[in-house]
Amino acid sequence: MSREAILGAIRRGLKRGALPDDQQLALRARMAAHPRHLIPARGQVPRPEQVALFLHNVEKEFGTTARVAGLADVPGAVADYLAANNLPSDFAIAPHPELESIDWSQRPMLALRPGRAQASDLVCLTHGYAAVAETGTLMLPGSGQRPTTLNLLGDTAIVVLRASRIVGFMEAAWDLFRAENHDDVTGGFMPRNIMWVTGPSRSADIESTLELGAHGPRRLHVVLVDDDPSALT
């Protein structure tokens, strides 16, 4: 059987048999502790600077941002963004409780369709779980409340993110995720899919020259909700 053949070949190469129990135990302890390695200083800054760094990095990676005071201001920010960019006012939206709690009727022109994205959707809006200042990266775990297709199929992707969910570096985002999630199917914490998204889709395959909007969204817009007093400058 190939499995035994591969494991056997590895052990022959390493000139040993299967790892002794005490060494296996040590490796299991390492995985259980999942120690961090060197964390760059750029992500280890005070809260207001983390938020500023996140916004800076999103824009550096060709995303756009808008900052609003509360969830109630989200419909206005979304409507303004769509109008300013000549985009349709109907969009697919993640069926996430926080987005559902918003009174969208204050902007009657907006037409929302909760659910996963369809191939014909031009605009998709989803809810950001967390974000990483270090690189301007959004953490978008897939679930019934955050369908993965919303990150991919639309021409324009809009992500609503609370400022309190911005962390300095990747490992801190994993800490949040490990603490807050449990997957009943596997007994672990990983859902089927987690996407880390840094800017809109792009390709440099044609003459090594960057073009936005290869297969995924051409535009990525982050609506940041300032729910964190400590993050305000």
């Binding site: 999942h34 760059p40 750029r42 994993w174 672990g188």
Partner: protein, 475 residues
């Protein structure tokens, strides 16, 4: 993939005469190195992170059996299936069996060098299943029936005219008089064409940049989003991964991710870094019902415990080829198999045999740039030298070269004879070249003088001058 590595010398002649290729190489070279340099300069900890990356990979390789077993057990918990494949044949058969069982007609594919190594596309086509490459670069190469020339920028050797020509020849349902005014027009047409394929595919095949032991996840890193559409929309997701891709934890992956994009494209982070863990969960609104990982050895276990083990640290960033003077002279296709540049010159002989790929480790100036940019500090020149030694030991080196090496070795071991011979040579060449100061051509050195002149020696050897100057300073 059939290797043309034995014909390396002929491949190089063709590449040097290829005007389009030379134009693309000259155009791309400064930007590849420049982007990495800018990203590295912006992260003061980058050099320390290279040590971290090396240590993580060494730790994994020393315990590879344990981490693979742990990872596979965790894949099983997520409803996924691991197919352990010792050979390329095993892996092709495993992929085909899955596709046939689910009655697949078309299969979309994210970019995967393992797929190139296995020749998955040819195999599926043979059985009437249509594979569709969805990475923009891989897509045009599939239309043109060409292999990739680079591991992360597979079609950078093509110019805009080539794209336009291939699209007109292949997309015959579109109006003939359409205009490709900008690169964007090419991209838009590909996006539209491939969107149909994404939606129609029965199976999606991707590679993997990492496998995470603690969670049983596979990770892909892309910029276009094609890999994500490939693994999200079809009913079945197949991951192709080689055994050395496993890392223990998400934190280990984070450390390597900080190195990968910066070394590859000069980005701080690629656009999409996606962690896939098993099959669709209850309540999910999208995602595949089947998740398979075809785990491939294909010669890698043979490198463990040998002087080539360090090559298995490679994270496929392409920094080595992006900084290689040989690669940017001859292009990727000259190397004749899946992996070009310095990493290919070490890996290819390991995987297909030094008898077929012996030219590759010889095609190096040993300038050391590859090792100095490698994010996991693989000593590539040293490993190429090991291949040269093995080639020599197995009597694969050409007779003239062996004779000359033997001749040189005889002199090198006899200092008096060496000094006498070099003195005679320097004196003779100095006398002959006194007038012009250089030689346009020399007997037995045509390969050198074809490309440049040899400066004439001044008549004195280094040894002689050094001894003379020592005497002069002492007196």
């Amino acid at each position: 993939m059939l290797a043309t590595s034995p014909a390396f010398k002929a491949n190089v002649k063709g590449a040097l005469a290829d005007v389009g290729l030379q134009k693309a190489l000259a155009f791309t070279r400064p930007s590849f190195a420049g982007r990495r340099a800018a990203a590295v300069a912006a992260l003061p900890e980058f050099e320390q992170l290279r040590d971290v990356g090396r240590d993580i990979k060494d730790h994994v390789l020393g315990n590879l059996d344990f981490y693979l077993e742990t990872w596979a057990a965790n894949v099983a918990k997520t409803g996924g299936t691991v197919h352990w494949c010792s050979t390329a044949d095993d892996a092709r058969a495993a992929v085909l069996a899955i596709c046939q069982r689910v009655g697949a007609k078309t299969v979309t594919k994210g970019k995967s060098m393992i797929s190139e190594e296995l020749g998955i596309n040819e195999h599926l086509e043979k059985f009437g299943i249509e594979p569709v490459e969805t990475d923009l670069g891989e897509y045009i190469l599939q239309l043109r029936k060409e292999p990739p020339s680079h591991i992360i920028a597979p079609a950078f050797h093509l110019n805009r005219e080539d794209w336009e020509e291939s699209f007109r020849a292949s997309h015959t349902d579109l109006p003939e008089d359409r205009v490709f005014g900008e690169r964007r027009d090419i991209l838009t047409e590909a996006r539209k064409k491939l969107r149909e394929k994404f939606l129609a595919a029965d199976v999606g095949i991707t590679g993997a940049n990492f496998l995470i032991a603690e969670t049983g996840s596979s990770v892909i890193v892309t910029n276009e989003g094609n890999g994500d559409l490939t693994q999200t929309l079809p009913r079945v997701h197949i991951v192709l991964a080689s055994i050395e891709k496993v890392v223990p934890t998400l934190e280990d992956a984070c450390a390597l991710l900080r190195l990968l994009a910066r070394s590859a494209t000069g980005q701080d982070m690629s656009v999409y870094t996606t962690f896939s863990t098993g099959v669709v969960r209850p309540g999910d609104l999208d995602g595949p019902e089947e998740y398979h990982v075809v785990l491939v050895d294909n010669g890698r276990t043979g490198m463990i415990g040998t002087e080539f083990q360090e090559m298995l640290r490679c994270i496929r960033c392409a920094a080595c080829m992006n900084h290689c003077p040989v690669y940017f002279t001859v292009g990727g296709h000259s190397y004749g198999w899946v992996y070009p540049g310095p990493m290919g010159s070490v890996l290819t002989p390991s995987l297909i045999g030094v008898d077929k790929a012996g030219h590759l480790p010889n095609a190096s100036t040993f300038c050391g740039k590859c090792e100095s940019v490698c994010p996991v500090k693989i000593p590539l020149p040293k490993l190429m030298r090991h291949w040269r030694e093995r080639e020599f030991e197995r009597h694969l080196t050409p007779q003239t070269m062996r004779t000359n090496l033997a001749l040189w070795a005889w002199f090198a071991r006899r200092p008096a004879a060496y000094r006498l011979a070099t003195r005679v040579a320097a004196w003779t060449l100095g006398l002959l070249g006194r007038k012009r100061g250089r030689f346009h051509s020399l007997p037995f050195a045509g390969g050198w003088t074809d490309g440049r002149d040899l400066p004439a020696p001044e008549g004195e050897t280094f040894f002689a001058r050094y001894a003379r100057q020592q005497r002069e300073t002492q007196s």
